[in-house]
Symmetry: C2
Subunit: 227 residues, 2 copies
DNA sequence: TCCAAAATTAGTCAATTGCCAAAATTTGAT
DNA sequence: ATCAAATTTTGGCAATTGACTAATTTTGGA
């Protein structure tokens, strides 16, 4: 059985530009879309102005008309992709469901299935690497994950109202990190991709249990250097 | 308070070379060490032959004597670093502890503390990115994680002997992925680095519970496309 | 239709890249 | 001490990179 959504050109969220012709907006978007395709298909090493120009059917010099430098182009690209994820998260956040636990399970399903797409599997590790040496990327990435955790936080609060805010936030972080980690093992074309349904079951069971049964103070119970 | 272990040059495991002088073995190691330092400190973009030559106090042309191509140099580098981790995992595997659950907790502590080192936080995301477009890296990485999971598997089997092998392996994968995911959030110089002790508590509690309480067939219970 | 702004093209520049060949030097067994 | 093998240096090459300028074409409001 083939999955049909694989070759969809990934989405970008591009802010409308100030004063300009319609063609300009198109060109702007074409360039970023070409850059994203190259990044996803061939990695950051393929992100040269000439390859982006070729991929977008444009002249090299024209890229310099839209973007003062390659650095600015890449920043705009990351910004556009990250914004598209923020939109997705906002949409996911309002998914209906009966109980809070059921909505948490639904959220886990949506996130883990997004992880198996080519776009997500390829883009996020690139983001993680860039964030190691670029403060701008680090800030923007932190902002993205903060927003992605909002719904997680709300659900945990609903499931376990007694849990203090800082412990709740820590649990949300742990859950988020757990799921992100699956990218490398069960993402697109990864060796354990086919086991993602099982991972989903374990994740749901584990996360709901944690949210339900964590007692206030339990996490901080032991000082980290206690033998 | 300053942490003093940050600037330690990361370890490499380099196989002794066939026929050659002692100086040759030194040069070989110097080059790979310089390359790793550059990768960790400045990212893969800094991995040019000239920068590696400067960093290792060598001439550019000499790199071509040791390595037929830049590609071969990088492969040898990844191989050497991965081998060093495999050694570490083998050492960790034989850590003593009373019960299996206690040994599992100890293993979690060791892995999560390794994640906060500069070497690990910086190197692994680079590896993940490279694996997306390089089958050699993908194979080698899979081999590394396979070996890292051996002890995890044994401990789960001891804690819950009734769990079938494939479900046990899936749980080990989930646990491993969970911890790897923390790299991006609580690794070296990451925003939630200071909460790593809390993450450790949650992880121990969660993983031990899963290992103890998962029932055979529970993971595969629902077919993935059941609404 | 006209025309200024917007968008695109063509061509060039210095810098950097990986790679290579030939000469010079160092090593260590004999 | 000798000498072949191993290592290092020197100098350069062709290709690619990001950036820039000037000329050309397209756009869409007046």
């Amino acid at each position: 059985m083939l999955i049909l959504t694989d070759f969809i050109v990934p989405d970008l969220k591009i802010a409308p530009r100030d004063g300009g012709y319609a063609r300009g907006q198109d060109g702007f978007e074409q360039i970023l879309r070409a850059a994203l395709t190259l990044l996803v298909e061939h990695g950051s090493g393929a992100l040269t102005l000439r390859r982006i120009a070729t991929e977008s059917g444009m002249n090299v010099g024209n890229l310099n008309y839209y973007f003062r430098s390659k650095d600015e182009l890449i920043r705009e690209l990351l910004n556009a992709v990250i914004s598209s994820y923020e939109d997705s998260f906002d949409a996911i956040m309002h998914e209906p469901g009966a109980t809070a636990a059921e909505r948490l399970e639904k959220l886990v399903t949506l996130i883990l299935e997004d992880i198996t797409t080519k776009k997500t599997t390829r883009f996020f590790p690139e983001l993680w690497v860039l964030s190691n040496h670029d403060p701008f990327v680090q800030d923007r990435m932190e902002e993205l994950y903060d927003r992605a955790r909002v719904s997680l936080n709300e659900l945990i609060a609903e499931i376990n109202p007694a849990l203090p805010a800082d412990e709740r936030e820590t649990l949300a972080l742990f859950i988020s990190a757990s799921m992100e980690g699956l990218t490398v093992f069960a993402g697109y074309e990864k060796p354990w991709r086919s086991r993602m349904p099982w991972f989903e079951q374990i994740a749901k069971r584990s996360f709901v249990t944690l949210a339900r049964e964590l007692k206030p103070g339990e996490i901080k119970g032991l000082s980290p250097d206690a033998a």
